[in-house]
């Protein structure tokens, strides 16, 4: 047992940190710090910087652009990217469909799609959720009927993040309605330019429009865009969701937010002293830091166990802890920022969140506090709600 990072790991951390800070464009960095919305081009720019360095998809198999780093190095890499803070790569390509294609796709699909994902030439979105399905994902009703060398897809997806920019969508579709719900599902790749696809934005309570409904009416999809075998899509989805869960703690993001809160609470001269000099506020913050440090150690234990096992495909059921506690702490940081911003939480300034130059009401960083608080309520809902995660712990770990 050696609980410290090795010298090599520390040097690696220094290397990636330096690279991120030296190479992130200043305007993108500023937007990240102020929690302003990123534009599509921002993500493309950053992804291509990473790709040029060979770090676009470090966790993929080496033959498709991966770096071969072990899980601990990968953890350090992503954590440092979050702490910079730099944009996370568009997850739908890099973390979701990419690994699925690399693992279950055929050679033609790999050659066609993977390099374009790594370079963000294709913008992907995710077509899993459907209206009314919620945590019961497998109850999906969008159906694909074979017609010659095409599938004809009809149905509706929802909560499709950033579909407005998307070139491609990966979908779970029902190809056999006559069997148990999990075994009649297939995994299809669909070009968003195909006739019959309509995208409608859903406005969320933070004022943002990052999620959408996607409607499919007689959309013809070539059978070559089926991943793996027909009716095995649920297995691929579980693989994908498992990957999602272990990354969801986002410890680097919470760390960066705490640093930012300390900075802002130290500057602000509300009342007779900066907030940070208030014992209660300081202790509330410290309590979050303790839990976050504990979660970081927990994350490292999971990562190290994964490194030992070597089977990256199967998520540790303990990753449910990462999801629950990670989301709670992300939400806690948004509440702390609400406390710092005080009465200036009230003005609604969507233009500022999107980065316009209009003069702000109050502090120039105040505009995003309430929208971030509202928006981040989602993290305890999506990716398998925290209630579902506790069911998983009770059953898979405790045997209840």
């Amino acid at each position: 047992m050696d609980l410290a990072f090795t010298k090599e790991e520390q040097a690696f951390r220094e290397e990636v940190r330096t690279f991120f800070h030296e190479n992130i464009p200043a305007d993108i960095h500023a937007k990240m710090i102020d929690q302003h919305s990123l534009e599509k081009q921002d993500l493309v720019t950053w992804q291509r910087i990473l790709n040029a360095k060979g770090w676009a998809v470090p966790h993929w198999p080496v033959e498709y652009g991966g770096t071969g780093w072990d899980p601990i190095k990968l953890y350090i890499f992503w954590e440092e990217m979050q702490q910079t803070p730099a944009p996370q790569p568009l997850q739908f390509g890099v973390h979701m469909v990419g690994p699925v294609i690399a693992t279950f796709g055929n050679e033609a699909q790999k050659q066609r799609f993977l390099p374009r994902i790594a370079n963000l030439d294709d913008w992907w979105c995710q077509g899993f959720s459907e209206p009314g399905a919620g945590s019961d994902l497998a109850s999906l009703r969008t159906k694909a009927v074979r017609d010659g060398d095409h599938y004809v897809v009809n149905g509706q997806k929802t909560w499709t993040t950033l579909a407005q920019h998307a070139d491609w969508i990966f979908c779970l579709v029902r190809t056999n309605p006559d069997v148990k719900k999990q075994v009649g599902i297939s995994f299809l790749l669909i070009d968003m330019k195909t006739p019959g696809i309509e995208v409608r934005p859903i406005q969320t309570i933070d004022g943002g429009k990052e999620v959408n409904e996607v409607f499919f009416t007689d959309v013809r999809v070539p059978v070559e865009n089926l991943v793996g075998e027909e009716n095995r899509g649920w297995d691929y989805a579980k693989f994908l969701l498992g990957n999602e869960r272990s990354g969801i703690a986002r410890i680097g993001i919470s760390k960066q937010r705490i640093r930012r809160i300390k900075e802002l609470a130290g500057q602000e001269f509300y009342g007779s002293a900066p907030m940070i000099e208030n014992q209660r506020f300081r202790e509330k913050l410290a309590a979050v830091e303790v839990e976050l440090k504990a979660l970081e150690m927990t994350q490292l234990r999971v990562v190290a166990a994964e490194a030992k096992r070597g089977d990256k495909g199967k998520p540790d059921p303990a990753s449910s802890i990462l999801k629950i506690k990670g989301s709670e702490l992300q939400q806690a940081t948004t509440e702390l920022l609400m406390e710092v911003v005080g009465p200036y939480a009230l003005p609604f300034q969507p233009g500022l969140v999107e980065g316009s130059n209009e003069p702000p009401i109050g502090m120039d960083w105040a505009a995003t506090a309430a929208p971030t608080y509202f928006n981040w309520r989602k993290v305890s809902i999506y990716g398998g709600s925290n209630e579902i995660q506790k069911n998983i712990i009770a059953k898979a770990i405790l045997g209840l």
């Binding site: 969320t204 009342g271 009465p343 009401i361 928006n375």
Partner: protein, 382 residues
């Protein structure tokens, strides 16, 4: 001790609830909010017709003498409807300054205009660095012959863009954060030297930044003692906090009812999600937090006009703590139990969540008042 409404109160409650049920549906509210001033002049006229704008004023002043309980009834109904009109700003805050601080001439001039719906007011108090401290006033009022000249900037003035007149706090003497030397001034919204920048708020209402540059106010339009206005300001904001507590209870009630309904109708894994014991207990926890909030709203109502100032302030602070904590829990859980759709503007629940969140930041959040209460010795004498 009697927690039941009397006949008259019951009548008021029924009529305001009926009006709002008829005229304040989800789509109607959206239309009201989309108008230029952000609220409905037509509804305002109807409130006047119903006598709602006369509620807290004494019969001598042309009011209905319904006291804090009347305000509680109206505000709870407004909370249930998420009504956008400036009732708190005009009747509770503005009316509060008149009731508690104005002289006979001022009352005789202004209260009838409030009652008939022709005058709206807004309370311009917060400044860039004041946070929730009512004594932290740097806007100045310089005596100049028979009038005062005001200079300064007021921030996040709720309904400040559409208000006919502003009630402005300004310092006639002393240093920033001194308790003495703060006066209350009635300023015409279109007076020379007043500039207002209006904007929408997170909860679908409107507010304004107000700049005061050499604004002249006749001494007739000082409310109360200009050298010692803070006790009046504290009295009126305590009344406003009590009103906000009632509004929050209305807001939470709807979120709780909506969530319980959703649990009964929404199916997942083949059963109503309300069959899951964890969600049943969550709904029970929400109910408990709601009822605790309702109890403290009643306490705040009871104490809003308490003569013992220290006891009034402690009770109001305690109520705001409970409301803030209950509101956060009930709001967050209402969204959580609705899942993704609870996060959209298409469902009412998210709008209620935003309003209850913003009520917490009004006049001091839960933690602020907890500190105040603790410093004042708590609610139970040692």
């Amino acid at each position: 001790m009697d927690f039941d409404l009397n006949e008259e109160q019951r009548l008021i409650k029924d009529s305001v609830e009926r009006l709002l049920a008829d005229r304040y549906g989800f789509e109607q509210r959206k239309a009201h909010g989309a108008s230029e001033r952000g609220w409905s002049a037509d509804m305002w006229a109807q409130y006047a017709d119903l006598g709602l704008l006369a509620m807290p004023f004494s019969a001598d002043d042309g009011g209905m003498d319904q006291g804090p309980v009347g305000t509680m009834i109206v505000m709870e109904a407004f909370g249930r409807a998420l009504a956008l009109e400036p009732y708190l700003a005009t009747v509770v805050l503005g009316g509060g300054f008149l009731r508690n601080g104005a002289n006979a001439a001022q009352k005789a001039d202004l209260i009838p205009q409030i009652v008939d719906g022709s005058l709206t007011l807004a309370f311009a108090q917060t400044e860039r660095h004041s946070r929730y401290d009512l004594a932290d006033v740097t806007t100045t009022a310089r005596k100049d012959g028979g009038s005062y000249v005001l200079d300064g900037a007021k921030s996040v003035v709720v309904h400040g863009d559409s208000a006919d007149k502003l009630i402005v706090t300004a310092r006639v003497a002393g240093d920033r954060r001194d308790r003495s030397g703060i006066g209350v001034f009635l300023v015409d919204g279109n007076a020379a030297g007043v500039s207002r920048r209006g904007y929408p708020t997170q909860d679908g209402q409107r507010a304004a930044e107000v700049l005061l540059e050499g604004v002249r106010v006749e001494a007739d339009w000082v409310i109360g003692e200009p050298e010692n206005g803070l006790p009046l300001i504290e009295q009126v904001t305590d009344e406003a906090i009590a009103a906000l507590c009632a509004e929050a209870v209305g807001t939470m009630s709807v979120m709780h009812e909506t969530t319980v309904d959703y649990l009964k109708t929404r199916k997942q894994f083949g059963v109503p999600i309300g069959d899951f014991q964890v969600l049943q207990h969550r709904a029970a926890d929400m109910f408990l937090m709601l009822e605790q909030a309702r109890s403290m709203s009643m306490l705040a109502t009871m104490m809003a006009d308490e003569q013992d100032v220290a006891e009034r302030r402690r009770s109001i602070a305690g109520a705001k703590v409970q409301i803030g904590r209950s509101g956060r829990f009930v709001g967050q859980q209402a969204v959580q139990l609705h899942g993704g759709v609870g996060m959209t503007m298409e469902l009412a629940v998210g709008h209620y969540f935003k309003r209850v969140t913003m009520i917490d930041t009004a006049f001091g959040d839960a933690d602020y008042h907890l500190s105040r209460l603790a410093d004042a010795g708590g609610l139970i004498a040692a």
